[in-house]
Amino acid sequence: MNAPLLQLDQATMQFGGLKCVCDLSFIVTAGGLVGLIGPNGAGKTTVFNLITGVYRPTAGNITFAGKSVVGHRPYRITSRGIARTFQNIRLFGSLTVFDNVRTACNMHLRHGISHALMRGPKFAAENRTTENFVEELLQIFGLTAARDEPCRSLSYGGQRRLEIVRALATRPKLLLLDEPAAGMNPTEKIELMKLIRFTQEKFGLAVLLVEHDMKVVMGICERIIVLDYGRKIAEGTPTEIRADPKVIAAYLGKEAA
């Protein structure tokens, strides 16, 4: 349970002359809940993009479950067990709530195109399994009522929840959440914290969370990693981070330290 699931080793991302992420190393254990924080522009979303294969690190290595994920297409990394949500919600706009989640079940299908066309008993059976799976997920997260609505008709909080459900449909071992609390009011944030905790326990996932809201981060994370200008400047428990002068300096400027 404490073996490293995700491991970054001196990962670096350089765009031209700018090093967005520099020599970053950290570990997320299976079932762990880790927060990734830092001032704006610190490179947090870039780290997500590196892990999920949207970018290829210019140096360093990233391993998941013991195998390197560098150089793989994002969809293959997802099939290994990493799922994510996005900073700006990226739902499939023209699809219903149900179909958004169903799309994420694609990679686990055992039938191919010929079955989709011939529609034999194997197709029907697997279809039923998939639909039941999606129904279950929607029910757990309270989206059953909206199942046939266009996904855009959901409230902002509902859309964020849907994004998480969709990511879960890929049956990940590690879930990356990119600023899930953005735009939420305090009540919604408390709900979100409960949701993340619940998701982690129920599905036995590891969660890596990028978030600006300190209440959320301090409230649920077991460990926190702090980035500034692409480098890790601190790592520890919420209590340790709260008191760390480097972290305070990064957020508030040198004078406040």
């Binding site: 297409r73 739902l91 499939f92 195109i113």
Partner: protein, 324 residues
């Protein structure tokens, strides 16, 4: 939408066979229009898979039609004598030629789809246009295919049954494909490629698949066309022909198979209606060329549609605005 679709397909095929029986008594002019409608339904539905459902804006569909037309024509011409004149022989040859034409077109679709993968909307459109021109160039320089003179002498194998049975098949394939969990990959690619990849969907596979399947049916339509008109010419498969099909897809509403079929019917009848209009004695002379040159009206239709009702007749403009 499971067994029902198979039943509907079977019904459509049987109906086509039945109607085909009485086809002899249909006025030849209307018969021609009906066949054209069937062929256009295949073209529009197959293009809709690429443009509408997968969001890859292809402007070169006529090129795939040409590949199928010339491929099948060459085969029936080359082997026509060999298989004799028995009904079974000629039908078998026709089916073989149509399939082969479709496969040749599918290969062309592969050749176009793979390089186009990384290209954004505008560039993809121009490149597919370019490939259309290239295919046309190749045909224009190929002596065995008649080059600039065109290719003629095909036997008129195409009849009501084949046209509409294949049209029904095309609709069946596209609808079944898209309305399945497997097929939701196409829509995901259209809506948000990055999110689709993140959800485990191999976007490359789906884009290429859309191109290949779309091209296959365009090739089949080409084969039907070649054995209907009995003469084909490279200029008949140029950018304007591609635009004809694109207008059908846009008018019908991208991503709505029913809409696209209806649009195919409307836009097959429209030029005939315009032609009739052009011959009306009381029409002022200056209006006559406009009635005859359907492109003026088509282009205006496109512009007005895009400004007032971009989702066409039946489409839902659901996909997210892609930032540049």
């Amino acid at each position: 939408m499971l067994e029902r679709t198979k039943i509907l397909l079977l019904a459509a095929v049987l109906a086509s066979a039945a109607i085909s029986f009485f086809a002899g008594s249909i006025n030849p002019y209307y018969y021609d229009i009906l066949i054209s409608i069937g062929i256009n339904i295949i073209l529009a539905t197959s293009l809709n898979l690429v443009n509408g459902y997968t969001g890859q804006f292809s402007l070169g569909h006529a090129g795939f039609m040409a590949a199928g037309a010339y491929g099948s024509a060459w085969l029936t011409l080359a082997f026509g004598y060999a298989l004799g004149t028995s009904v079974a022989g000629t039908t078998a040859l026709f089916v073989f030629a149509l399939t082969a034409g479709g496969l040749i077109a599918a290969l062309a679709g592969l050749a176009v789809g793979v390089p186009s993968l990384r290209l954004r909307g505008d560039y993809l459109a121009i490149v597919t246009l370019g490939f259309n021109e290239i295919i046309k160039s190749v045909i224009q320089n190929a002596e065995p295919l008649g080059a600039q003179r065109g290719l003629g002498g095909m036997v008129a194998h195409t009849n009501f049954f084949w046209t509409f049975a294949l049209a029904a098949l095309t609709v069946y394939v596209v609808l079944n494909l898209v309305h399945s969990t497997y097929g939701s990959g196409f829509l995901a690619v259209r809506d948000d490629e990055i999110a689709a990849e993140a959800m485990g969907i191999n976007t490359t596979k789906y884009k290429v698949l859309a191109f290949v399947i779309g091209a296959f049916f365009a090739g089949v339509a080409g084969g039907l066309y070649a054995h209907f008109k009995q003469f084909i010419h490279p200029e008949g498969f140029n950018f304007l022909r591609s635009m004809d099909i694109v207008v059908m897809v846009i008018l019908g509403g991208m991503g709505s198979t029913i809409g696209v079929c209806i649009a195919a019917v409307l836009l097959t009848i429209l030029p005939e209606g315009l032609r009739a209009l052009a011959h009306l004695p009381w029409l002022p002379d200056w209006l006559r060329p406009i009635a005859e040159n359907r492109m003026i009206l088509y282009s205006l239709l496109l512009i007005i549609l895009m400004i007032t009702r971009p989702q066409g007749l039946f489409g839902t403009l659901g996909w997210k605005r892609k930032k540049a």
